[in-house]
Chain length 523, copies 2
Amino acid sequence: MNELSVIDVTDQRPTIEEWGHRIERLLDGESNAAIFNLRADDDREFDAIFLGGGASGRFGSAYMRAMGGRQLIIDQWPFLGGSCPHNACVPHHLFSDCAAELMLQRTFGGSLWFPPMDGVITSIKEVVDLFRRGRIGPHAIMNYQSKEQLDLEYILNVPGRIIDAHTVEAAGRTFRARNLILCLGARPQILDVPGKDLKGVYTNVNLVETLDYEPSATVVVVGGSKTAVEYGSFFSATGRRTIMAVRSECLKIVPDGEIRGYVRDRMEEQGLEIWERSQVVRIEDDGEGRVAGVIIRTPKGEERVETNFVFVALGEIPNSEMAADVLGVEIGPKNEVIVDSQLRTSVPNVYAVGDLIGGPMEMFKARKSGMYAARNAMGATIHYEPKDFPDFLHTHYEVSWLGLGEEEARAKYSNIVIIKMPPNNPNGLDVALPASDRTMLYAFAKPHMSGYQKLIIDGDTRRVLGAHHVGYGAKDAFQYLNVLVKQGLTIDQLGEMDELFLNPTHFIQLSRLRAGRQDLVDL
Amino acid sequence: MNELSVIDVTDQRPTIEEWGHRIERLLDGESNAAIFNLRADDDREFDAIFLGGGASGRFGSAYMRAMGGRQLIIDQWPFLGGSCPHNACVPHHLFSDCAAELMLQRTFGGSLWFPPMDGVITSIKEVVDLFRRGRIGPHAIMNYQSKEQLDLEYILNVPGRIIDAHTVEAAGRTFRARNLILCLGARPQILDVPGKDLKGVYTNVNLVETLDYEPSATVVVVGGSKTAVEYGSFFSATGRRTIMAVRSECLKIVPDGEIRGYVRDRMEEQGLEIWERSQVVRIEDDGEGRVAGVIIRTPKGEERVETNFVFVALGEIPNSEMAADVLGVEIGPKNEVIVDSQLRTSVPNVYAVGDLIGGPMEMFKARKSGMYAARNAMGATIHYEPKDFPDFLHTHYEVSWLGLGEEEARAKYSNIVIIKMPPNNPNGLDVALPASDRTMLYAFAKPHMSGYQKLIIDGDTRRVLGAHHVGYGAKDAFQYLNVLVKQGLTIDQLGEMDELFLNPTHFIQLSRLRAGRQDLVDL
């Protein structure tokens, strides 16, 4: 293979702005030069090559480097950070922020300072364009931070090709390391029906890369996963009729039934149509290679939906092919690379991390598995298994949870105590609490929209078993609350905490109202 | 004294909606009947009378009742919950939510779906009216919850008059108890200058009660406290020229200098004029008893500002007079009732709690002091001192902090490590991180507006000494993070947590990038 042209930044110190311009030019295809950031003054063997510089590879590299090891990242993109800031979590957060904002504006349209929004369809393309232009910013920070602050070595904008368990080829050169850490990520699962390749069929990946028209006033989302719900909510918030075709049930990931019901009701109130036990069987061609409609098999028979836009969110498939073909690493039933609790594959000195090893395909697991693989590769014997983690999804709201839902808690414990807001009361949801930042206008004008929250307690040990929140501003809290719950947090300890009133999670104060009782009861 | 008419709800079970209607009629002055909710089937002596049913009295009562004690709340308002939902924290949160929303709409006015906002002044009165109508909702919940769920006894809509340490008169009847717990709150400090009584001079209390016109295009805020900053930011966000006249310095409460600078820069960027070392010396009369202008003594001399609206936020004075006059409880220099760590006043069997005992006049202290007084009154010997609590304020942003600022940390520790976002870099703030829910649009179009955050670590012990955040969605997290920090949280433990990416506090992942190092360094 010929050597490709190389941009050697080793002795440069590009600013974030300069990185931005460079990444933009490379993404625009002005050059296919590889970026080399390799230390000339370090002739030690690499402790590991991280094949892939997404969350798992970058965090694993940072940890290895912090420990004093030598690492090399090789990534096909001209930036570090992987899919998250390019076409996954970051755009998703932008779209979800727009969904929350548009729901507010539609709810209050024509009152206060909000313009009327009835019948207004807002642009999806403009938000996608905003993302596409702006994503260079986070990319540039990752390259800058990784070089100037984390002291990482990397080769970007060129695919790495595995030669053997110690050798990777990139840009016509071969690189050797004591260990190989595979960070190859995953790709969206394809909807395998006639018409799947028509223009107008999107996943989160090609949506932000290629959307060049305004979707029609009706759109179809395929799937009931987090991603489906998140994008569906955004499309709906733009004012489009949005049909979610879900093979089984929507929102299955939300563990508490009552919370799931509240979330679903609010989605439907915003106009989302959730068609469960329904499958897309065919996508129609308009005669020019574009989507003209979708045929959906529903429990009531086949329905045709006229649309030029189908969004597919059926989950992700690990990119394990090269590792399986070249190295023979063992692969599981979902195409994932099988690893043990030290992140070791079936091949000595080869580790795998991140989405490549299967679910949960979450950021914390990507980063932490990278970190643990690095520690093991550096000689530690240390185990990692993602469990008892908090979780969330976006609709127009933020929905956060940790621990058990009520149903599972009742199945496991005989004395379950529920503390929730709004309370069980004859007015149902039509009460102005809970409320806090970003739901205050709802609380004062549309109380049933101001959120729902619930704490599940074992009345015998007084320990918190689960926490659930719909609203805003609690997602971050669940990270820390989860640690306390795993420590054995009791209602009494919660009642001793210092709330920052109006706190999005009303758990502290509600616990305090009950904590004086020896025999706990619901609130 | 004649007995007043009484609405006896003891044997009724009003719904939240019914409570709302009742409270509304009583607040409108249709009747001055007292509400009695007294158990007929319980002839035990009261363990305590809580004089005042705000946060401290209601939470103290709930705790005492939960312990099996008998309590009575007497409050002059027709609802429980006190000033917070009536004219303090709740309206403040509504206004701060509007400030955040208006900043977003102004920043993006004319792009995406946002209408142009240049030169548009939005109504303050409409938001106040919305609050005034809507506040009945939270009031009704408090009455409902206190009666139907917490089983509290209370007398509302009539002032309680202290007779002695065991006796209070209300509605012409006397009530005796083993203990008296004073929960009399505080009132805004008056600006003592000529013109202070003109129509158009407001505090948070009379603003929501009496505002009946639209403030002029220029307004003046007096003070540099939390409340001043919060209301000033809202007024500014409505499009009005807003001048904050601050005797000394603004934002002194924010412990970290860099964070304080970022917060202030954003306030000024939104158009707020902060006049420090400046004092209002006179408010001018328009000849009809209304404000026409304000004379402010500044370091550059006297300035006249034409306005019909002055908002005074100079702090709060405890309502200690009746207790001092009748009982002779000892009073401190700020008019506060002096208590020991058991919340006992200088008079046996008389406790004082909440804002009445002085700062910090925060919700958690009100509620927890009520709870601790209840436990002591029930025979426990238990101490309460508010310390090492997290704190926050609102500008157009949420600003949260806990522990030490950088300056104080460096004075106390020799090896301080700073982890922050945006990083120190040649582009300054003009980078797209940090970002998360509610700042995504900023990150993609106005990066310097997407927030600022900082973690302060002792490099020797690796423990977190302080955390600081400007943005949204972290306020709630600081409640729980503060508990972990007080446990001795280290950078290594942070790096083991499971983030809910994009998390508003980027502390977990930033810590993980450094935690592999034995010798910690800044990031």
